[in-house]
Symmetry: D2
Subunit: 265 residues, 4 copies
């Protein structure tokens, strides 16, 4: 069991009155227990939390008035649970047995355009033994064939773009993994969270989950950090669902520091 201390600082210059929706709170999840948390906003602004009905992500909504420095400080103490699963033996779930609520994770989405790479997925991965090993092979293929290069992609980059460019950042790696899974009939989704990555300045991380026997399993084709160290913020069909900040107005991001510290016990 590990206890983590999250310390997330975001600073903006607010140019015009701006509505902002943050997605920076630790998720309510069986894998983690939030022991304590606190959100400080300065200058003070009224905010409220709402959850979307599908992923139950915890959205924080507020309105920021123009100012030189608008600071958002989220702190949380979260306990990670060792969940006794043996994912290595997980098989794939036949379509007929996929729960109704999981079906949407089979559909192509904007960034995970699985319908465009069915042939590629079938040729490369269909012959493999189904199940955890196959998704692990997808993760490995991405790690081997895509270069992690900051700035090599943008907000329009899709899984097929990444496959051509052979470069991307964590969200692109996740999108490609998701798209390949869906193309093979395996439900998959993006997960974002806090994790410490050596030699990287603190940032939000994106990985993916595949739905296998026993439930959702986490994969990280970047191999940048052990997945068991990830404190989960949100899940979604793709990055369109899980932006850490969505805003309407005019602002400038000055600082982003989503730090995490681990205290093993």
């Amino acid at each position: 069991m590990t206890t983590c201390q999250i310390d997330c600082h975001l600073t903006y210059k607010i140019i015009q009155p701006t509505e902002i929706i943050f997605l920076i709170h630790a998720a309510y999840s069986p894998n983690q227990t939030i022991l304590a948390e606190q959100l400080c906003i300065s200058p003070t602004a009224a905010w409220h939390e709402f959850q979307d009905p599908v992923h139950h992500n915890r959205h924080i909504r507020l309105r920021a008035a123009p100012c030189e420095s608008f600071e958002v400080h989220y702190q949380a103490t979260v306990e990670c649970h060792d969940i006794a699963v043996h994912p290595q033996s997980s098989g794939e779930v036949a379509i007929r047995d996929i729960p109704d609520a999981v079906l949407p994770y089979l559909l192509a989405s904007r960034y995970c355009n699985s319908d465009q790479l069915e042939n590629m997925a079938m040729r490369s991965f269909a012959w493999m033994e189904a199940g955890y090993a196959r998704v692990k092979a997808i993760e490995q293929w991405i790690f081997n064939n895509i270069a992690y290069i900051s700035g090599s992609s943008n907000q329009f980059t899709t899984a097929t773009d990444t496959l051509i460019q052979r470069a991307g950042v964590c969200r692109d790696f996740a999108h490609l993994g998701i798209a390949l899974c869906r193309a093979l009939g395996i439900p998959a989704r993006i997960v974002v969270g806090y994790v410490e990555i050596e030699n990287f300045s603190p940032d939000f991380h994106a990985v993916f989950e595949a739905y296998l026997e026993g439930g959702w399993r986490l994969f990280d084709p970047t191999r940048l950090a052990p997945t068991e160290n990830l404190i989960r913020i949100a899940a979604g069909v793709d990055a369109g669902d899980v932006a850490f900040a969505t805003f309407y107005g005019d602002l400038e991001l000055l600082k982003i520091e989503p730090r995490i510290n681990y205290q093993s016990e």
Copy 2:
């Protein structure tokens, strides 16, 4: 008040065991009351209905065994209500007043890639008086500038593709309307349903709704049928949410006849 009789026939050749999810049932909606409905499947197959948590669309899920002719017959008697609204006077809703649950309809989606046509939307429509009249102007612009041509688009066609090609079918018209609204800060979504269109063989129709003061307002840039005659099946972020049939397996669509008859009283 109008009463409609829906009579939707779908016939497939099932080549391999195939999981199918249909979206052909009249929606539960304040605008319409389902007086009676019946779903006949032949050869018999067990099915169940489930609703998604966001749009409450009524998905029918079943598994079809291989056969030469798999028939799905949905019949319903639906009463359309005259709802006393004066949409002409609806203004736009300031971002701060948009309900949490409506926020997702502001985001760019796969087919409604509003983030790519912000400049075009601003240049063409930002100077207009906000509200119902502006969305009406968008509807009119699409009607004037996009040709309705069957077969001119496919399952990958986005709003920007349609804007370039200047041709599409009803779903493309709806996607472009939605994308333009979102680019202007107006929440918008796709709605599919049954409607009779003169000189067209019966087919599902797609239109769009914009969220204005007083709630969702219907617009049809194809101008093919009066919107008050539409019996609503489903709503969604874009066509990805509202396919009338999604399947996993192998089949061939042999006949599609979603008929509707009106009996005014």
Copy 3:
């Protein structure tokens, strides 16, 4: 030495007066000698031939008046030469030694968007021994990984599209081969011509050439016919240069039969 008889029939319905430029004549090339040729056009229309200054392709330009059946019949007797080359031992040509006139075949073009797949090309082929063997490996990779499916592509399909879709026709195979070569610094171009392909109805064929030590070498990633049997019509940067017919006006293609017969001696 082989002698071939080309017998190319094209029939159009001409709806409006239409300017047409055909590219169906056997090329003047060291690999082939035109022993005799004849062009019959019915109803009669004045035509002239011109060559472009780069590829010296033989364009036939004419104006067709409206009629139900406009027939173009090109016949030629062409001798193919066995040119004593040992391409297997050809190395690649260092950039500094590439002739000025060959440099354009290194640039990305519309269908051969080599600048988008540099990373993929480097990862997959850069480690190989340079020269003929490397281009042969590219040819083999395309043959192994892309399915030849009629109708799977259109006039907008690029090399990167084909790489994602894993399907195409001969011109798509050629474009992908060209793009991969250029990405590796090997000049490459498309070549179209006449060739007999078993179990295919007669059609124009597209292959590609790479510029190696000793000159241009032919490759056919479709493996549909022996390249030594190809009677060359034209070469170009990509398919944009070598359409067998380009027209301005309104017409309908009724029949396309570019037949070829071989008489070995």
Copy 4:
């Protein structure tokens, strides 16, 4: 009559031995006479000039050895001629009367993908009086509807991208003008050259030419400088033909200063 002094400095850091092809020399053109010119390269490198057979652009080819500062200095004195044309009265040239050598400028190209915006071009411009006035209307439309924003496009940006994004730089403006002309059956090409633009740091400029009665006519949808002040360097199908520098190797551009001064007499 105007005499111009061109003074073009380019400085690179050469990281590896690099083959470079420059396109910076004033063109041989009836509109301008080169009175004197000089190319200095430091450290000295052997170079030669070659012209491509289509556009007769003057390519300078050389090989640069690794060094911290590789300087290219081109100076020329060029006389611009007032050519007595009355372009305002130029009509369009019927397809049948377009010279063979001008036909390629009707084809879609990578950046000027005219085949994708035929419908848009027809709807917006087909109703207008043909000729110079129509191309002027296209120029005006682009000026009115596209914002000149440095950095808003990249080497993959096509005319349709620019039409959607409503932003670009001079080459994007030119590409859109060319694509619209071609879609209407008017041959068009890109022209790059030297021109002084107020409030801009010196840079190469791109405009376009349309082929009308009397020959090629110059248009500049950016309206940044009078076209009669442009000293022409090169023409091409699109920007792919007229890069001021193409290189194979590894280098870094340190300074780009293509200055021009005018001495009216």
